[in-house]
Symmetry: C2
Subunit: 363 residues, 2 copies
């Protein structure tokens, strides 16, 4: 029995608020390894994208799926140097605009495969000439049926309403696909194995210390979460976890946009979380931290360069990955565990936030 | 002296918090008409975009300029049926990724023409084969120098730090350019004249009533602003005004994304502002309102279909424009005046929010 197995073990029959959410946070390294069993699927889809010169990558999804789509902008930009965008569902589905989508790959992201407007977008995009691909946990779903190709997320059963494994595996799937398009799938697969090892090593440690760091934020009402570049997806996903599990009005913001207005709202009761990674955007994040500190905000720093954030009252360092594109797979974890700990301190249940259901059928 | 002139008149030498911000809100109809003097510039740039088949439109900007860029997704989608995207500055400027930008038009948005990373992005995009266009108030600026073509925003001098005329004229400029590409510049110009008339008629009326509606929100700490489709730009810009002038943690959110997590955070102290326009997304906005009301949130409704939001405690209707694409030019105004009134009630100065400067040189 390794330390990892001990940390994963739950007392038999354990339950209570947040039990599933915490268990699924810990299941992420294994879910990531499960995804790698399907690398040939990614190679196959990547080959079709290249053959069809479908090099404008349009992503559609909601919630955590849409947050992961932000990552794809960097994955496709840095790996095959293709342009990826979070496309407007409204333009195609509500306004009925017929865009010429030849030369486009559409990636429809939905854990359940049942998000109505994502399915409808994919159906219309396919008619408009796009190569359509579903990324979903449910291979037998309307989204999988609507798309020409399917990539499995293999996150396994996710019981907590707030997504964890799904988000991490969507990032990994998007990175793996982008790398496969660039002919570097094998290298990326290997680096994802390294990330799984790093996650296994640091999640149990962080679980032990997160309670003390989270406690002072039990009654926090609002927060900015700052990231830039590949880590903007992390800022978005941490904000969503804080909103849905802790009822904190958390807003993601890029390091530079903080200076374009929002900094004026800061004060000591408006903390700022900064994701500082080993990346060419680090200087911008460090400068944003200095502006936030000058405005009187309390600072929380996370990421592999958390120590670079001067004056941070709370520091949640993460291991440094083999390349900056892997950073978001590690830096999301402190946000997930922080949300779990704050929710527990507030007496909220992150497994089942009020007013939410696991499958969202809103259009 | 028309009622409009009376409303525009300031007592000689009047000053005090928010004087410039209010004056500039009122100057918007005239600024819009000034823009139309330059329609031939838009026709010329549109002709080049068509000749060069530069039909992937990449927009870059920060703050209000970036909010206006959200509008361009719909303007280019609905008019010439081209794909527009808010491009990643980080990918090109910080990571140094060399994307192939042949077939792209780049629209660099900056009131001052001095935003450092927008200038650098435009320089690199030009080398990468894009047709680069600067949209700026300052024709003699580094951004104008960096781009192949320049379109004047003609917003005139804007003294308040919080942008108003610049935002409205950026929307109008993007709409006019998109319409010109589609060969409908003359029709769009005419409809913008109609918008100027509508603005002149309703701004003075709204100014009289906004104080009573804004007063209950004097100590509000957080808010969601919901829009979808073309009105998502409005949701983003109203949120930014509330953040920078009133220190309210206001977050823009699409009607559908509200159901994907954030609705769990709502309670009676977390109001939701909904922009309800005569548009095919109205049903989604009405459904989002019902979800927010069920969660106990106080509702504020604005837009030409504000009356469709059942149970809204506060209603700020706007005139109905000739087409949905014009809606955002009218529906931003209640947000501007609301921010002005709340800031005054709080004793804050929207002309000069703490920690901000008119020209932001942050990277």
């Amino acid at each position: 029995v390794s330390p990892h197995d001990l940390a994963l073990a739950q007392p038999p029959g354990s339950s209570g608020p947040g039990t599933q959410f915490l268990a699924e946070i810990k299941e992420q390294p294994q879910a990531l390894l499960d995804l790698l069993q399907h690398r040939t699927d990614f190679d196959r889809v990547a080959a079709t994208m290249r053959e069809r010169s479908a090099s404008l990558v349009r992503l559609v999804g909601h919630g955590s799926s849409d947050n992961a789509a932000s990552y794809a902008v960097y994955a496709f930009g840095l790996e095959p140097r293709w342009t990826a965008l979070r496309d407007s569902i409204t333009l195609t589905v509500h306004y009925g605009t017929k865009l010429d989508m030849r030369g486009s790959t559409v990636l429809g992201l939905s854990q359940s495969g049942r998000t109505p407007d994502v399915i409808e977008y994919v159906e219309r995009a396919r008619k408009a000439g796009a190569f359509t691909v579903a990324l979903t946990n449910e291979l037998d779903s309307p989204l999988a049926d609507a798309a020409e190709a399917v990539l499995p997320l293999t996150a396994g059963a996710e019981h907590a309403v707030a997504a964890t494994k799904t988000y991490l595996n969507t990032l990994a799937a998007l990175g793996l696909l982008a790398a496969a398009v660039a002919g570097r799938g094998a290298v990326f697969e290997e680096s994802l194995r390294g990330v799984a090892d790093q996650l296994n090593a640091f999640i149990p440690t962080l679980e032990q210390t997160i309670g003390a760091i989270a406690a002072p934020f039990t009654y926090t009402g609002r927060m900015f979460v700052v990231g830039r570049g590949a880590e903007f997806s992390t800022a978005r996903e941490i904000s969503l976890k804080l909103l849905e599990t802790c009822r904190i009005a958390a807003e993601p913001i890029t390091a530079t946009d903080l200076a374009h207005g929002p900094v004026a709202a800061l004060d000591p009761l408006f903390p700022v979380w900064l994701i500082a990674s080993a990346d060419k955007t680090l200087r911008a994040v460090v400068e944003a931290a200095a502006r936030a500190r000058t405005a009187g905000a309390t600072l929380i720093a996370s990421g592999s360069r958390a120590a670079a954030i001067k004056g941070a009252e709370y520091v949640l360092p993460t291991p440094e990955p083999a390349s900056p594109l892997l950073g978001p797979l590690l830096s999301i974890v402190p946000g997930q565990l922080f949300a779990w700990a704050v929710a527990r301190a507030k007496g909220l249940d992150p497994d089942a936030p009020r007013g939410l259901t696991k499958v969202t059928l809103a259009r």
